[in-house]
Symmetry: C2
Subunit: 899 residues, 2 copies
């Protein structure tokens, strides 16, 4: 470790720097930085993360010389504040706060008012300090210290406090008198004594105990499991900040508050926040008094009216911090005797809308570069600009009518409304007649089908990694979890909120971006950005402008191209408007399901006669051709990768015996024969069954028809001067011979049609890489494929041996308990599946240097996966149309990350 | 190419050598070798494989100087035989035969009697040669040449010949007079003329045409597809042998025949074979006259009686060849004017029994080493010593009674008998009440279930790579394909053979080792070897002796250990007797199905109550413990790897709603709840579902119980002085965290039980490697696993994306058409799946140098796969008990191959 183990700050400067987050923690570095900038900060010192590491590596001991250093810093602090720690009349009081390089729930957070004991309390009161204030400070200290350091159960303290309130006939702690508080504190002290954990009266012992407790909490269970879940290093350690107390609760010229340097919802450049007069930080959190806005609002002049100087100072501090940190800040402050003290600064969390606007405006302001702006907006933030929304005016008017039922964690962005279903089965049933919101205490694997059927998901319990949250995010559905104000009574068929009762079928709205739950059905609307881009409405707004600006920068920056997965001309149109540079996956199976076609498809499947089959295929040919014409024309000038038929044939037959019998009657075939054939086609594991190129090889006539339809469509358009650029993609290749033979057969059909139509259009033929074995023999397959497109959904299924349809039974538990860092169907499993992707790229390009490689699985729109694909040198990613902007941004960020 | 393009043989020596198979082909090298040994061979010369390669690489042309060399060799031949090629009175006649380094069907084989034309025929007759003989030679030449070289359809020639037989009122070609033969030849010549492909009269043109035709046939479709199917090089080319004719059909002092230097069925050291007096080779093949045995038999003195000198010479030649080649030979000979000429020698094909006996006896005779002996007996040959058999006396007596219905290709060794089923559905149905032989024209994917249900499979059509052959071998069932004498009339429900009719339900026997189909049900018996080894009967036979000797040598030679997959004490006992050095896979699921247990298992699955579940598990614990005790005791001193529960829970529930309802009633649970639970457990792709360690993590109580049962069983036995060596194997690990957690949990249970019982038994904990991802992260998994055991069945399913239960729909076609070289569930796919195996070995050992690695998939008993496992450095293979001897031999051969 470094020689110096403690860094002073405040009092006109700092020993540490703002960029020393690793050593000083985020909080310590922020305090050092503010001190250096001359911003008023109560002085203090930071014990480094190195000390924490030493402490744990050396049997809970401190490095040599640490104690001396510690005493030196304490003495300096006493000098600065002209008070002595432990002085019985006018003591220096201290706070101890943890602060690692990354903020982490589960660790000991804060202990205030250290340095008090019964003797000192009496001394201070005797010296003229307000008795109620002093006694309350002491009461708070003993409670916090007892709970956090001594580990006496919190509830036991609360019980004593509650008893006191009752005894004295008051409702709020703040109504307890000085004497009552003294009683409470005495009971607290007795409680600790009783539990064999006496509260240390000696101030230095208090201070040391608090510091030890912070370091101990680094290794507690919750902190360790948090680190494991979030892939954080076990080695970084935490720092401890010891700081002189300032009091926001010492009279009406005191206050405490939090602020953002810009509006974290809209991104507008204005100091935004809340404060409470005559209060300590924990009072804000407790939520008993409602903080008021810093900015003036109806009936309130804001901080500027109440504390004009402090407000002016705060605005200046915010400006200085932004200028210095080049990022929007989230600060905590206290006003004591009308003077402003800053307690913390850190980069502020913000909504997607705000992130986009702030990033773009900071470039305008000359603070950051365009590349930095791209790195400041995550894909998920951008996605919020595209998610469906409730109109703010709709929401406000409903809220004004009392429709707000509560808030939960915003687990899946987007707005949704529908009828309440309280069980998954009911959800699946009700979904047939309109949108449904599934409301549960929590969801479980048995609920998967119902979740699929629902428009939105709401739970009363669970956190951001609960089953509901994981599954909903995977499905891309609006979702709120942990909305604790709701009581779900499945048996009564009721949802209760406070004293209101809703029944199944009643309407409900959820805003998964904000976490708000509202009674009644609000109408979800396309976001402003989608209205402007896709609907072509002339909307001028900061959001729309920021979106366009970011997209322009992203497009200038990224190396990979972005395509969309689209099966219809309409999807293709939307994709193109959203910036898709081609179609990476055009599935053909949906085309087989349309009403007038499915009976021909079934004839192909059910007949034994070549003639009947050929006739049926001849009926399908012009239909497929016209499907392709629509898409190729929409995407004129851009490539369209058409995947030949993929699903097993039984998917095209009805499931019930009755429907099968009817089908037989319709087609004039023997019912038993049809039933036999359907049974013969049924599979134990359809996912691993007779589908994709396997079908293409055993029933080649279907692929022949599709290849002919593609070729006819493209050549026909070309003859009309439309630049159609089809690419034929063979699914499910696992061996080189499959590719060799299907390529040969397809080329024959293409050549025949081209010669008939006198066309010389080039039609590349490539394959999906979605079978693990294909990745292993990619060098050989590349000899016969013009392009690869990773089907990472199937590749993930087979590499893990997970059926996506069934994995809901264990996958959420795997993610919740950290067996897997994330759902591998949502974020690509770089450790395992990623090896196959990289291998296939390297091997494929080893034999075919100019092999074009893309990805068309759902990971193609997921930012962390896109970063990985960039590192593999993919040529493009392809995702669903509405994810295209996210992918464009993510690709740009990936390019920057790779530089 | 080398300068010399033609090698002479015969006439007292040879230019080539017996070891020049690559250059001279097998036939040419054999002729050269025999010539050098002074064995009488009609002289000739061999045009090398290099010329063939040159021919195809240079637009069907010959190398410079080739023509001159050719003429030189022809001149030398004329000198040796004192005859001139094309002499109109006493011409040299020649044969042309192809012969590559590897014999290959599909290539042009033989043209005899080259050098005749109408003028020469008349000249020879004028010079006193027998007219009928000469005219027949000419007739044969034109027919063979017309068919093979000129490609005039064979049937057209046969039609002319048939018309002549009819016209002259005879039944056999040999009854046609010289004049009639002259007519036929004239018609042949006219036919060729008519087809625009006149027969060349000039002898030299005939000869050159024949040589060209051999080279051309190297590239014909059948030859190419054969090479592709058998993985033969496209580059080896074929040689051509031009040889002076000798005539076995020139009178009663002439004969032609084939012989083996030892009996190819039993391996007995005796010259064994057949011959025909006054006949040419093709007459033997045509099967019109029945050849007689070389050895004396009932009513016939054999070759020794008829041709004493030639017979003595043949015996001497055979001895000389064996001495020289150190291998049993298959020879062709002709006797002309009582003098023996050898036409060919090659290593002889033999049955498994013969292979074993010959190998062992050749070591006794000092001809070959013990290692060579091991390399002379393939695993499949050894398997024949273990396959069920009909007693020869049973079979002979039935055949004597006329029970032999025909012969087909021996596609799956072993004897089976049962009732005839003519459709797969009927087979599945009938199999419930006893063994069934499925008899079809050919099988298709729809028949898979019926094939599974049948004891043996018989088809009237198809070859060794037909659907039936591939699937039956994969299932390890006796199978005969291509039994052309059978007519299957599915609609009439009849099987007809000649004029006999069998109905469904009639009894039939098939010997898949010999290809014989017999009426009636013969009883299959364990083979002699199994009777001796497993039943412990004191059998003294050459076969049993050879088996023991080979096994001893194999055990001395091999590096890898061989274990068996066994779930019961009885299987374990058999495995141990057959040489298993442990149990590599003891499945535990079957133990859950036993009558008195399944209801407890179902309670575990169906209950929501922890108490009920714990109670049910407590009932199962002693049962499992006693299962394990039985196996551990049987295998005392040897390791037993127990796999924790693998299948998904729904496999333990009844399928039909009725049975479920009954179950609910029995268990006193609500029927709807049971049905709901069963439905909730059902899976779309159970293979990729909630099973193996996934179940172990979500329902940990089951594994806890199993681990406890294993530990109690082993510690209990150890306390009684029995050396139990359990190993706990966790199935389906795909991520390192699964392994970490299940290992931790298992270790806790083991430690608890050991501490309770005061035992210090070490119980290793390892994992299956059967998920592709596990192979990719094997380095990390190895940190927490004491051993790996490859589950190559599942690994193959997932690497290929094939469901084994469904792949029957396309896999046989894949193998038949060469998309895959073999069924990857039968032979390990080294190209793809093998990469994962090798990767897992390398990565696993990189982090844990002493990692024990085995394989317990079905590939563990398959020789080519075993060779690959040796190359990966596996510690052991594990296979079904009856495959253990095969694996011991294959492991030894693999060790030798690796040296």
């Amino acid at each position: 470790m470094t020689d110096k183990s403690i860094y002073a700050f405040g009092g006109g400067g700092a020993e540490g720097r703002g960029d020393q987050k690793e050593l000083l923690g985020g909080k310590g570095a922020g305090l050092a930085e503010m001190s250096s900038l001359g911003i008023p900060v109560p002085p203090g010192f930071t014990i480094t993360t190195e000390v924490c590491k030493y402490y744990h590596r050396n049997g809970q001991s401190y490095p040599e010389g640490h104690d001396e250093e510690f005493r030196g810093h304490l003495k300096r602090l006493e000098g600065l504040q002209s008070k002595r720690f432990g002085d019985p009349a006018d003591p220096l009081l201290l706070s101890v706060r943890s602060g690692g390089p990354v903020s982490m729930p589960g660790m000991m957070d804060t202990i205030l008012n250290l340095g008090l004991n019964s003797e000192i309390v009496e001394g201070m009161i005797a010296a003229g300090r307000d008795a109620r204030f002093v006694r309350d400070c002491y009461r708070r200290l003993v409670q916090m210290y007892g709970d956090v350091v001594l580990e006496v159960p919190f509830d036991d303290f609360e019980r004593i406090l509650g008893a006191a309130r009752e005894r004295h006939g008051v409702e709020l702690d703040s109504e307890l008198s000085a004497d009552a508080l003294a009683e409470v504190t005495a009971d607290y002290l007795a409680l600790c004594e009783e539990r064999g954990k006496p509260f240390p009266a000696a101030p230095l012992e208090q201070l040391r105990g608090a510091v030890d407790a912070v370091f101990e909490s680094w290794e507690n269970k919750r902190a360790r499991s948090y680190r494991r879940l979030h892939g954080l290093s076990e080695d970084s350690g935490t720092a401890v900040n010891v700081q002189a107390m300032v009091f926001g609760n010492n009279g009406s010229d005191c206050a405490t508050g939090v602020a953002f340097t810009r509006d974290p919802s809209s991104g507008e450049r204005v100091v935004y926040g809340e404060y409470l007069t005559n209060a300590q930080g924990e009072d804000v959190v407790a939520g008993i008094r409602t903080p008021v806005s810093i900015t003036a609002s109806d009936g309130h002049g804001g901080l500027g009216a109440e504390f004009p100087q402090a407000h002016a100072d705060l605005v200046a501090v915010c400006a200085k911090l932004e200028e210095h940190r080049r990022e929007m800040q989230d600060v905590e402050f206290t006003i004591e005797a009308s003077k402003l003290y800053m307690l913390q600064t850190r980069d502020g969390k913000r909504t997607g809308l705000a992130a986009a606007r702030i990033a773009v405006e900071m470039v305008d302001e000359g603070r950051i570069s365009m590349h930095e702006a791209l790195l400041r907006v995550s894909g998920e933030q951008l996605a919020q600009l595209l998610a469906p929304v409730f109109k703010p005016e709709d929401k406000q008017s409903r809220i004004a009518d009392g429709a707000l039922l509560g808030r939960g964690l915003a687990a899946g962005p987007g707005a949704a409304s529908g009828r309440i279903a309280l069980t998954a089965d009911r959800a699946a049933e009700m979904a047939r007649s309109g949108p449904v919101i599934l409301v549960r205490d929590e969801t479980s694997p048995e609920d998967i089908v119902g979740m699929h059927a629902s428009t939105g998901i709401l739970t009363s319990r669970g956190g951001m990694t609960s089953h509901a949250a994981i599954v909903a995010r995977g499905m891309g559905k609006p979702c709120i979890v942990g909305a604790g104000s709701l009581t779900v009574d499945e048996h009564a068929g009721e949802l209760r909120v406070d004293n209101r009762t809703f029944r199944e079928g009643d309407e409900l709205s959820i805003d998964g971006t904000s976490g708000e739950v509202l009674a009644g059905a609000l109408k979800p609307h396309p976001s402003e950005v989608l209205q402007a881009v896709v609907e072509g409405r002339p909307i001028e707004s900061h959001t729309v402008r920021a979106f366009h600006q970011l997209m322009t920068w992203a497009d200038e920056t990224r190396r990979m191209r972005v395509r969309a997965n689209a099966d219809t001309p309409e999807d293709a149109r939307v994709a193109r408007l959203l910036g898709a540079q081609g179609i990476g996956l055009c599935r053909t199976e949906h085309m087989f399901f349309e009403d007038d076609r499915i009976s021909w498809v079934r004839q192909v499947i059910l007949t034994d006669s070549d003639e009947t089959r050929d006739h049926a295929l001849a009926q399908l040919l012009p239909e497929q051709q016209s499907d392709f014409e629509g898409i190729f024309e929409t995407m004129a000038g851009l490539p369209v990768t058409v995947r030949l038929l993929d699903p097993p044939l039984h998917e095209f037959l009805p499931k019930e015996p009755k429907a099968l019998a009817e089908l037989a009657r319709e087609m004039g075939i023997d019912a038993t024969a049809v039933a036999d054939r359907a049974e013969a086609l049924a599979e134990f594991n359809p996912m691993l069954g007779h589908r994709g190129c396997r079908l293409g090889l055993t029933t080649p006539e279907i692929y022949d028809m599709q290849v002919e339809a593609i070729t006819r469509a493209a050549c026909g358009l070309a003859a009309r001067g439309i630049d159609a650029r089809p690419e034929i993609m063979v699914p499910l290749i696992g061996t080189v011979q499959e590719m060799v033979r299907l390529r040969e057969r397809s080329e024959t059909v293409v050549a025949r049609v081209k010669s008939e139509l006198g066309s010389d259009l080039a039609i590349p033929i490539g394959t999906m890489i979605e079978i693990p074995r294909a990745a292993l023999v990619a060098d050989k397959i590349a000899e016969h494929a013009d392009f690869f497109s990773f089907g990472t959904n199937d590749l993930t299924q087979m590499a893990f041996g997970y059926s996506r349809d069934d994995a809901g039974r264990f996958l959420p538990q795997y993610v919740e308990t950290g067996i897997l860092p994330a759902d591998p169907f949502e974020k690509l499993d770089i450790e395992g599946v990623g090896q196959l992707v990289r291998m296939a790229c390297e091997r494929g390009r080893a034999t075919r240097r100019d092999l074009k490689i893309g990805i068309c699985g759902e990971h193609g729109g997921e930012p962390s996966s896109i970063t990985f694909f960039e590192s593999c040198g993919l040529d493009y990613v392809s995702c669903s149309p509405y994810r295209v902007p996210v992918a464009r941004l993510a690709a740009a960020r990936a390019t920057l990350a790779a530089d």
